[in-house]
């Protein structure tokens, strides 16, 4: 539906939300933070998949085709930057907007993530869950309705 919206020039986001067609993937290893985000996003009407590690995340990306990925750059056992660059190199996943959520946040980290193709970089300690949800909304509009 969203893919069609892209071609035909836009479908009101509300109607897609009602049908639960907007899919978000949250990749975050901290259970508490992940659950807060998932809860907030579900309240907005999105279909939310969650992953605490890269293996689970990969399955969701391939099987569920999320429209936005919230990605923690510090994941157990794997470098989040690697994950990001893999996703952006892969033809099938390169178009999915990725919002980095992390507790890293030096200028080098931010620049590196943006260079690798991340949509934005949000430091968890500096943003409220609502601000992250707002960023997801904005990204959806930019990527799927206005182009």
């Amino acid at each position: 539906m969203i893919e069609r919206a892209l071609k035909t020039g836009g479908v009101p986001i509300a109607s897609m939300l009602k049908r639960g067609e907007v899919k978000i993937l949250v990749v975050e290893d901290d259970k508490f933070l992940r659950e807060i985000l998932v809860g907030k996003l579900e309240k907005e009407g999105y279909t939310v998949f969650e992953a605490s590690n890269w293996n689970v995340a990969q399955k969701h990306i391939q099987g569920d085709r999320p429209h936005v990925i919230l990605l923690d750059i510090v994941l157990p056992g794997i470098d989040g930057f690697e994950v990001l660059s893999t996703l952006k190199r892969n033809r099938e996943t390169s178009a999915i907007p990725i919002i980095i959520i992390s507790n890293l946040g030096s200028r080098e980290d931010v620049d590196r993530a943006l260079r690798l193709g991340a949509k934005s970089f949000m430091i968890k300690a500096h943003h409220t869950p609502q601000e992250i949800v707002d960023a997801v909304k904005k990204t959806l509009e930019e990527y799927y309705l206005r182009r």
């Binding site: 901290d30 508490f32 933070l33 907030k40 309240k43 030096s106 080098e108 968890k124 300690a125 609502q130």
Partner: protein, 384 residues
């Protein structure tokens, strides 16, 4: 190279040797002359006596010339023997003062100067060891701060998100009393987050990883935005912020906008924070090419004499602010100073206790950031 003689070792040796050679000779000539005058003049002819006197005068002049030549040679050899190693030692000291410890002197002499050379070498080795140890400690310390700060961020995020969830009413209605308590907790949490952020910046500065991206920027809109961002704080503290004179137009600087906003922001925040409710904070921008100076004047508590020298050091907080504003980190001015200096600027203040403080940030209009200096690794600068 200009040849300098006056006051050099050579000149001193030359005059000493000349005096040593000339004075005894002059005395002896004088005696001889006197002897001619008193004794021989009666015995020999007038002409002969005069000739003898003339003779001794010429002899004196000739010997004097000879002494001068000898003194020049001797002074040159002696002074060269001393001043050349001194020159090498001075060069070594200059480089040490410049921070280069990768140097040694090749010592060939067995005398006192040779000893001095050996001592200098030993000293350089020890200082180098101490510095390396210091650098290691400093690196470990910075790394510790960095790791600890990152570790703190996760629980701080959890707290922040949990408070926000509660305040948003996502888990049920919040009573005004509960809201008040939660808002207190949010404030404390935010100040911890700020501390962690500052700690990470300070650690990066010390590790030399606090990079700058310099770009041309329009200064006035930047400053306006920076002040705009303080509207809430100003309203809460009921402080009047006044921008003096119309701000200049088209004021372009070469700067790292984000970093500079930390520096100027910290100064403005301090002015607001340490001024009592109802007080005044004045900002002025003064352009005098090639500089622009931003002055931030407050009518706050001022800085005590004892605090003046240490104000820009890390973790230092004014003795009179501790009890009125507990949330300061003692890092704001440390960061501000480092950032301003990295922009080729200067920062200073004037203050009177209980009357207020004015901070000045002076920045160059044209700034070309220097590439990091290359440390030379030549091990021998010369030999003595």
């Amino acid at each position: 190279m200009k040849l300098r003689v006056h006051g050099t070792l050579f000149a001193k040796f030359f005059w000493t040797l000349t005096a040593l050679g000339t004075i005894p000779m002059a005395i002896s000539t004088l005696f001889l002359y006197a002897t001619y005058e008193s004794r021989i003049r009666h015995i020999v002819d007038e002409d002969v006596a005069r000739e003898l006197q003339l003779n001794s005068g010429i002899q004196f002049l000739l010997i004097f010339l000879f002494v001068l030549i000898m003194a020049t040679f001797a002074a040159y050899i002696i002074s060269r023997n001393i001043s050349r190693p001194l020159f090498v030692l001075t060069e070594v000291m200059k480089r040490i003062a410049g921070g280069n410890l990768n140097i040694q002197i090749r010592v060939r002499r067995q005398d006192e100067i040779g000893d001095l050379g050996n001592f200098v070498n030993e000293m350089v080795r020890r200082v180098k060891e101490a510095r390396e140890r210091q650098e290691e400690i400093s690196a470990v310390k910075s790394e510790f701060i960095s790791v600890a700060a990152h570790q703190l961020r996760t629980p701080l995020s959890i707290e922040k998100w949990a408070y926000n969830l509660l305040l948003d009413g996502d888990v049920g209605k919040v009573t005004p009393k509960q809201r008040e308590l939660l808002e207190k907790a949010v404030m404390a949490n935010e100040s911890m987050i700020r501390l962690v952020h500052n700690l990470l910046d300070a650690a990066r500065i010390e590790e030399g990883k606090f990079g700058y991206t310099f770009q041309k920027m329009d200064f006035v809109p930047f400053l306006k935005k920076l002040l705009q961002d303080r509207t809430v704080l100003l309203r809460e503290k009921k402080i009047n912020l006044v921008v003096q004179h119309p701000l200049p137009r088209d004021l372009f600087l070469t700067a790292d906008e984000e970093r500079l906003s930390i520096a100027i922001g910290n100064i403005v925040d301090n002015a607001i924070r340490y001024t009592a409710s109802g007080g005044l904070v004045e900002i002025s921008v003064d352009t005098a090419p090639p500089w622009v100076t931003v002055a931030v004047r407050d009518t706050g508590i001022g800085i005590t004499k004892e605090d003046k020298d240490r104000l820009f050091t890390k973790f230092y907080r004014g003795s009179n602010v501790m009890h009125i504003a507990t949330e300061g980190t003692g890092l704001g001015l440390f960061l501000a100073k480092n950032i301003v200096i990295a922009h080729g600027g200067e920062i200073w203040f004037r203050s009177r206790e209980t009357e207020g403080t004015t901070f000045f940030i002076k920045l160059p209009l044209e700034f070309s950031p220097k590439s990091p200096s290359v440390v030379s690794h030549d091990s021998f600068v010369g030999s003595i």
